[in-house]
C-alpha cells in the first residue's frame, strides 16, 4: 500500500470505515509527516499529543456512521478552537486560548474529525502571500521560497504537502481560492451565509466565508457538506436546502450554459493563463456544455470597492483588540497610552495599513465619497452577476492573474499584491460561491487554477462542473519532498 498520507480524504474515510486503517494509524501518519515538515512553517500551533489521544479513544469505540471517522485535520488559525491557542496570525492574540469552538470546527468535531493543529495565515487574514503573519512566512511545497498564497497559506501549504488530508480556510477576497491555485489544490468559497461565521476571527464581516480546501472535488464536496449548516448564532447565516453534495456529485454538464466574462481578459495577463482558460472552455464544449460570452461591466471597480469595504469593516472589527480583556497588552502611562502601545506593538504593518484605510473611509466628510459609494458600486457588481445568471448557469475564469511568486517579491508593493485578487474579489462582493481547481502549470512548473463561479446557494452546480473539468484535465501536482531532509 502506498503511504497513508498520499491518500485523499474520501479514500481515508473509506479505509477507516472498512477497518483497513485505524484512526490512530492515520492520525500518527499525518503528524509524523507534519513533524518532518517544520521547514514549511505551515503550523502555528500543534495539537499532536492530544490528537493521538483522541484517535485512540476513537479506535476504542469507533463510530463509523460519522462522516469524518477519526480523520485528523489541521485548520486555519482563524477558527477559534476550544482549549487550543488561536492567534489569527497576530502577535496581539499570541497567547489567546478560546474557551469556545467555532461552529465550523464544531461541525468537523461532531463528524468525528480530530484537530491536529492550527495553520499559519496572514495576520487577521489580511494578505495574499502569508507574509504578513506574525509567525513567519510559509513555504509553498511546490518550490522553495515560493509563497503558498494567502491568506490561507498555511492551509494550502499543509494540504499540498500532505500534512493534513483536507483543511479549512476562510475567504474574504480570495483567501481560499488563490492559495489553492498557487499550490495545485482545490478550494471552495461557499455562498455568503452558507457556513456560519460564529467563532471565526472576523476580518470583514460582510465578505468572510469559511470553505474547504482539498486535494480533489470529491473531498471538497464532503467537506462542504459537513461545514455548511444553518446557525442561529450567526445572524447572516441563511436557512436553505443544503444538498448531499458528495452523493449528488456527477460530471454530467451536458446542456450547462457556462459564461466567459470578457472583462476578465486583463492586459498583461500571462499567455499561459489565457491558454489554460481556453483549455477549460474546450473541455466544457467537448462535454456538451455551452459556452456563452458574457459581460460583467463593473468588474474593473471590484478591487477598489473591495479595498474600501473590507478595510472599513476590519477597522471596526479589530477595535476589540485593545489589550483590556484578552491577548497582548503593553504597559502604558494611562488608558490611551496603553491602547496606542498595545495596538502599535500588537498589530503588524499590513493590518495597521488596513485599519488606517478603513478608519479614513468611514470618517465624517469622507464616508459618502468612499464607503457609501463603494456600497453602491458593490450593488452594481452584484447586479452584473444577477443579470448574466439569467443567461448562464455558471461562469468560468482563471483563479489568479499569475502563478505563485517568490517570497518577498511583492511585499513592498501592496498594490501589486492586491492585484492578485482581481479575479476572486468580485465574487466575495457579490456573495456568490466559487471554486478553484488546479488546471495546469506555467512554464516554471508552478500550478495554475481555474475558477468556476456559481449562482447563490448553487454549490452543487459548480462542484459538478469542477468535477467534469478535473476528470478531463487530470492535473498532477509534481511536488518533491524537498523540505524533508
Amino acid at each position: 500500500m502506498s503511504n497513508i498520507t498520499d491518500l485523499k480524504l474520501v479514500e481515508l474515510v473509506d479505509k477507516i470505515k472498512k477497518k483497513e486503517l485505524s484512526s490512530t494509524e492515520v492520525t500518527t501518519a499525518f503528524i509524523e509527516r507534519s513533524k518532518k515538515s517544520k521547514k514549511l512553517n505551515a503550523y502555528i500551533s500543534e495539537n499532536y499529543e492530544n490528537a493521538i489521544k483522541k484517535a485512540k479513544i476513537f479506535d476504542q469505540k469507533p463510530d463509523f456512521k460519522k462522516r469524518l471517522p477519526g480523520i485528523p485535520i489541521a485548520v486555519k488559525d482563524l477558527f477559534c478552537t476550544k482549549n487550543i491557542r488561536t492567534t489569527a496570525g497576530s502577535k496581539i492574540l499570541e497567547n489567546f486560548v478560546p474557551t469556545y469552538e467555532s461552529t465550523v470546527t464544531q461541525n468537523i468535531l461532531d463528524e468525528g474529525g480530530i484537530i491536529i493543529g492550527k495553520l499559519n495565515c496572514d495576520e487577521f487574514a489580511m494578505g495574499s502571500s502569508n507574509e504578513t503573519s506574525y509567525f513567519g512566512n510559509v513555504q509553498n511545497p511546490v518550490s522553495e521560497n515560493l509563497v503558498p498564497g494567502g491568506s490561507s497559506g498555511g492551509s494550502s501549504s499543509a494540504l499540498a504537502a500532505k500534512l493534513t488530508p483536507a483543511t479549512i480556510g476562510t475567504d474574504t477576497g480570495g483567501s481560499i481560492r488563490q492559495p489553492a491555485s498557487f499550490t495545485g489544490t482545490v478550494g471552495l468559497k461557499p455562498t455568503y451565509g452558507s457556513c456560519s461565521r460564529y467563532g471565526i476571527v472576523a476580518f470583514a464581516s460582510s465578505l468572510d466565508q469559511a470553505g474547504p480546501m482539498t486535494h480533489d472535488v470529491k473531498d471538497c464536496s464532503l467537506m462542504l457538506e459537513i461545514m455548511s449548516t444553518y446557525d442561529t448564532k450567526d445572524s447572516t447565516s441563511v436557512e436553505f436546502k443544503r444538498e448531499n453534495y458528495l452523493n449528488n456529485l456527477n460530471e454530467n454538464i451536458k446542456g450547462k450554459k457556462i459564461g466567459i466574462p470578457k472583462e476578465y481578459r486583463v492586459d498583461g495577463m500571462p499567455k499561459e493563463i489565457d491558454e489554460l482558460w481556453e483549455k477549460g472552455i474546450k473541455i466544457i464544449k467537448e462535454n456538451g456544455g455551452e459556452i456563452i460570452e458574457i459581460s460583467l461591466p463593473n468588474t474593473n471597480y471590484a478591487l477598489p470597492t473591495y479595498y474600501i469595504v473590507a478595510p472599513a469593516e476590519a477597522s471596526s472589527n479589530l477595535a476589540r483588540y485593545d489589550g483590556v480583556k484578552y491577548g497582548f497588552r503593553s504597559k502604558g502611562e494611562n488608558l490611551i497610552d496603553m491602547y496606542e502601545k498595545t495596538r502599535s506593538e500588537g498589530f503588524g504593518d499590513e493590518v495597521k495599513r488596513r485599519i488606517m484605510i478603513g478608519t479614513y473611509v468611514l470618517s465624517s466628510g469622507y464616508y459618502d465619497a468612499y464607503y457609501l459609494k463603494a456600497q453602491k458600486v458593490r450593488r452594481l457588481i452584484k447586479n452584473d452577476f444577477d443579470e448574466v445568471y439569467k443567461k448562464v448557469d455558471a461562469i468560468l475564469t482563471p483563479s489568479t492573474p499569475s502563478s505563485a511568486f517568490k517570497i518577498g517579491e511583492k511585499l513592498n508593493d501592496p498594490v501589486s499584491m492586491y492585484l492578485n485578487d482581481i479575479f476572486t474579489v468580485p465574487i466575495n462582493l457579490a456573495g456568490l460561491p466559487a471554486i478553484s481547481i488546479p488546471a495546469g502549470h506555467d512554464k516554471k512548473g508552478y500550478p495554475l487554477g481555474l475558477q468556476v463561479i456559481g449562482k447563490a446557494f448553487d454549490e452543487q452546480s459548480i462542484l459538478n462542473i469542477a468535477f467534469a473539468l478535473e476528470k478531463n484535465i487530470n492535473f498532477k501536482n509534481n511536488i518533491t519532498d524537498w523540505w524533508i531532509k
Binding site: P98, S235, A312, S315, S316, A319, V324, Y326, L362, Y367
Partner: protein, 488 residues
C-alpha cells in the same frame, strides 16, 4: 428668573430670554436578557457575573438580536403615538473606551425603529404636546469604576450590551416644570406598557439634556449645549437652570455660545465643558455587517397594537367620564399604572369620591412617609375598600376611620375586625344618644343658659362633650340633630 403665567424666562438688563430644551432619554428596556446576547440583565449582581462572550467581545463572537427587545421598542413607539419604521438598521458607533469591549456600540443611526410621535403633558394652564423625533435601540456600555482601587480603573461589564431605548424629543420643552412633567409622563407610559421600569435610582432612566436660549420673540434657535448623562429629574432641572443662566450671561456679556458637550457636577451644581464641537468624536457610523436590516411586517405590528393596554391619556378620559372625577384628580390617579390599578380595585366596590379622597389623602401620605411604592402599600385595596364602605354605611365616622386606618397601616388588618374588636362601631341609637346628651346638658347648666341667650358658638362645645363621652363613637350627624332639638 420669572415664572409668571407658567412661563420660564430669564431676565437680564431688561432682556427676556426663553429657554429651549430637548431631551434624549435613555430608557432601559425591560427584558430578561440583553439586546444581542442571552446574559441576564438583573440589577445589582456581583460585578462581571452577567457577561457572555458576546458582551465581552471575544474574537469571532456575533450579535444575535433579542426579539423581545424589538417588541418592547415597537410597543413604546405605539405608546408615543409614533410611526413604526418597518425597516430599521443597526449601525456601529465606533470609539475606544475600557468599558466598551467591542470598540463600538451597536446603535441605530440613520434608520431608527421608531420615527416621529408625541407626548401630551397636562400643565396647569392646559395640555401641551411635546414632539418625539425618534426612538432607537442601542447597547448600553459597561461601567468604569475609578474609586475602588487608587492604582487602576475597574470595569464591570454586567451592563454591557443591555438594551436601551433612546427617546429623542424635539426642542419643544420650555420650562423646568415641563421637563418634570415630560419625564414623568414618559415614565408613566413605559410603565403602563411594561417596556421600562423607569427606576431612576438603578439607572433605568437617564437623559442627555440639550439647552439653548434665545431672546423672547426670536424665531431662530440659539446654539445648544448638550449636558450628558443626568440621572434624576431634580438634577436635570438644576443643570438646565444653571446652563440656561450661564448661556444668558455669556450672551449678555457680548459673547456667543459654543456648541459643546458639558457635564453636570451635582456637588458643585454647575455644568462644565467636556469637549467642544471641534473635539467631538468622529464615531464613524456604518451599518453593522453582522446584523441584517431589521424588517417588520404589518401583521407583526398589528399584533403588538392589539396587546397595547389602556394608556394614561385614555384612562384619564375614562375616569373623568365614568367616575366624574376632576381632571386634576384623574391625572393623579392615572399618573402611575399601579396607582390606577389600586384605585380601580377600591372603587369597584366602594364610593368613588371617598376612594379618591382616601387614596390621594391618607394613603399617599402613608406611602410618602414610608417612602414606598403603592405596590408595597401595607394596606391592600381590598381592606381600604372595606374601610370606605364602613364609613359610607354609617358604621363608623370619618374620624374613627382615621384611627382604624392607623391600626391597618401596621399589618393590613381587616377594618371590620378592628371595628368589632375595639368596639368602634358608631353609636347611632337615638335613645342612647339622648342619654348622653341629657347628661351633658345637666352637667353644664351655665353653658346651656349662655347658649340659649345667644352664644351660638357654644353649640360646638356640647357636640364636643357628647363625642368625648362616647369615646368618639357617637354618630355626629345624629348628635347634631338631637342636640339642636334639646337646646331649643
Amino acid at each position: 428668573m420669572s415664572k409668571n403665567n407658567g412661563e420660564y424666562l430669564i431676565i437680564r438688563n431688561d432682556n427676556k430670554y426663553e429657554v429651549i430644551i430637548g431631551l434624549e432619554v435613555h430608557a432601559q428596556v425591560l427584558s430578561e436578557s440583553k439586546l444581542f446576547s442571552t446574559s441576564s440583565t438583573k440589577f445589582g449582581s456581583e460585578p462581571n457575573t452577567q457577561v457572555s462572550l458576546v458582551d465581552a467581545a471575544f474574537p469571532g463572537m456575533l450579535p444575535v438580536i433579542n426579539e423581545h427587545c424589538i417588541k418592547q421598542a415597537v410597543k413604546t413607539g405605539i405608546g408615543l403615538k409614533a410611526k413604526i419604521n418597518k425597516r430599521s438598521i443597526f449601525d456601529r458607533k465606533n470609539y475606544f473606551y475600557a468599558d466598551l469591549p467591542q470598540g463600538y456600540q451597536i446603535s441605530q443611526y440613520k434608520n431608527p425603529i421608531v420615527g416621529e410621535g408625541s407626548v401630551t403633558l397636562d400643565m396647569p394652564n392646559g395640555e401641551k404636546n411635546i414632539g418625539i423625533e425618534r426612538l432607537h435601540l442601542e447597547q448600553d456600555a459597561g461601567k468604569s469604576i475609578h474609586d475602588i482601587d487608587p492604582q487602576s480603573t475597574l470595569v464591570d461589564l454586567n451592563r454591557s450590551g443591555v438594551a436601551l431605548m433612546e427617546i429623542v424629543s424635539k426642542p419643544d420643552l420650555r420650562s423646568l416644570d415641563e421637563v418634570n412633567a415630560y419625564i414623568k409622563k414618559l415614565r408613566s407610559i413605559m410603565r403602563y406598557l411594561g417596556t421600562c421600569d423607569g427606576n431612576m435610582q438603578e439607572g433605568s432612566l437617564r437623559a442627555d439634556v440639550n439647552v439653548s436660549v434665545r431672546k423672547k420673540g426670536d424665531k431662530k434657535l440659539g446654539t445648544r449645549c448638550e449636558i450628558k448623562n443626568v440621572n434624576s429629574i431634580k438634577f436635570m432641572q438644576m443643570a438646565i437652570d444653571f446652563e440656561a443662566n450661564r448661556q444668558v450671561d455669556v450672551i449678555e456679556e457680548g459673547g456667543s455660545i459654543d456648541q459643546e458637550t458639558r457635564l453636570f457636577d451635582t456637588k458643585k451644581n454647575e455644568t462644565r465643558s467636556m469637549r467642544s464641537k471641534e473635539d467631538a468624536h468622529d464615531y464613524r457610523y456604518f451599518p453593522d455587517p453582522d446584523l441584517l436590516p431589521l424588517e417588520l411586517n404589518d401583521n407583526y405590528i398589528d399584533q403588538i397594537k392589539k396587546d397595547i393596554p389602556e394608556l394614561p391619556d385614555e384612562k384619564k378620559k375614562r375616569f373623568i367620564e365614568k367616575f366624574k372625577l376632576s381632571p386634576y384628580e384623574a391625572n393623579i390617579l392615572v399618573s402611575d399604572i399601579e396607582i390606577s390599578k389600586y384605585f380601580e380595585e377600591v372603587s369597584k366596590n366602594s364610593d368613588v369620591k371617598l376612594a379618591t379622597n382616601w387614596i390621594t389623602g391618607e394613603l399617599f401620605a402613608l406611602l410618602n412617609e414610608k417612602n414606598i411604592e403603592i405596590t408595597e402599600s401595607p394596606i391592600s385595596s381590598k381592606n381600604l375598600s372595606k374601610l370606605i364602605n364602613l364609613i359610607k354605611d354609617g358604621t363608623i365616622s370619618g374620624k374613627i376611620a382615621k384611627s382604624v386606618f392607623e391600626i391597618m397601616r401596621d399589618g393590613d388588618k381587616d377594618p371590620i375586625t378592628i371595628v368589632e374588636e375595639k368596639g368602634l362601631k358608631q353609636q347611632s341609637d337615638p335613645k342612647e344618644l339622648e342619654n348622653l346628651i341629657d347628661k351633658v346638658i345637666t352637667e353644664n347648666p351655665k353653658n346651656v343658659e349662655a347658649y340659649k341667650s345667644g352664644k351660638d358658638k357654644l353649640f360646638g362645645f356640647f357636640v364636643g362633650q357628647v363625642m368625648k363621652n362616647s369615646n368618639g363613637k357617637a354618630n355626629p350627624k345624629l348628635v347634631n340633630e338631637i342636640l339642636k332639638k334639646k337646646l331649643k
